[in-house]
Symmetry: C2
Subunit: 146 residues, 2 copies
Amino acid sequence: MSNNQFKKGELYSFITGKASTAIGRRLQKNFKQNNIEITIEQWSVLYHLWKEDGMSQQELCDATFRDKPSITRLVDNLERIKLVKRNASKEDRRKNLIVLTPEGRELEAKSMEIANNTLNESLQGVTNGQIEIAKEVLQMVYENLK
Amino acid sequence: MSNNQFKKGELYSFITGKASTAIGRRLQKNFKQNNIEITIEQWSVLYHLWKEDGMSQQELCDATFRDKPSITRLVDNLERIKLVKRNASKEDRRKNLIVLTPEGRELEAKSMEIANNTLNESLQGVTNGQIEIAKEVLQMVYENLK
DNA sequence: GACATATAGTTGTTTATGCAACTAAACAAA
DNA sequence: TTTGTTTAGTTGCATAAACAACTATATGTC
């Protein structure tokens, strides 16, 4: 702790500033330039549905680190622009299963390509080892605060 | 790039999810528990004013990685709760110099103590070296995307 | 079965963000 | 001085977040 002290000051700007979300904003910008009219928040939901269609809203909360109201509204908006649909679960009538529409499924290929390109652009000059450590730190922080 | 590919998938959740802002949210929670009724975004502005009072809004934009409308509104809110005041610059009448009120200055000691405690809590088990690398990665990403 | 409790999701309110369009002052060139 | 450009800041609009309060269904216990 005492050892960390002198380094912490510089961290505050990153934590409270917008630097940590720079990639997300660039991703959204690149989507727009390619006529993909969704927000990164919406994309983060679609991303998990592409891996596993028909997740419940609660599962989407856990996957995206968001709370329930946030997911409710993201799904609202995704439903409004017809990329997903809420299907009532037959096993548990409290649950909505969120399923992709054909339009929602169609977005995967192009948007993943843009995402990969954006990530390459963002991580230029960053080594694999550094990425691993940065990920570990984020994970540990998240675990510490859970 | 090709080398990074397999690791990138796991990154998307962090980038688009809320894990990267977990410390900020915990900080805000800890403020509230100590009856400090400000948001972390407001705190991020105050933090820079404590180091240098009388910054212009543009300087606050650069320091906090925020755009001008964001700072306009953060200063609006900080002025409304009487923690800062806008002073018109005499040298350049386009500029507002943002100065702390006595109430604003008073918040520094207690909130910095809470921030330091929160950071210690968040970074438990993370070594200095790891913190350094995580900071470097964030900095490089930010530079890459500037 | 009846009651308490946990889980899934929604709604209301306040604050912040991203983007584009705007005003006003400063500066530069002719 | 006039005209054009840059810089500082504001406003409008849509989306998202945090938090608390809410409804409805499921589950566990007696």
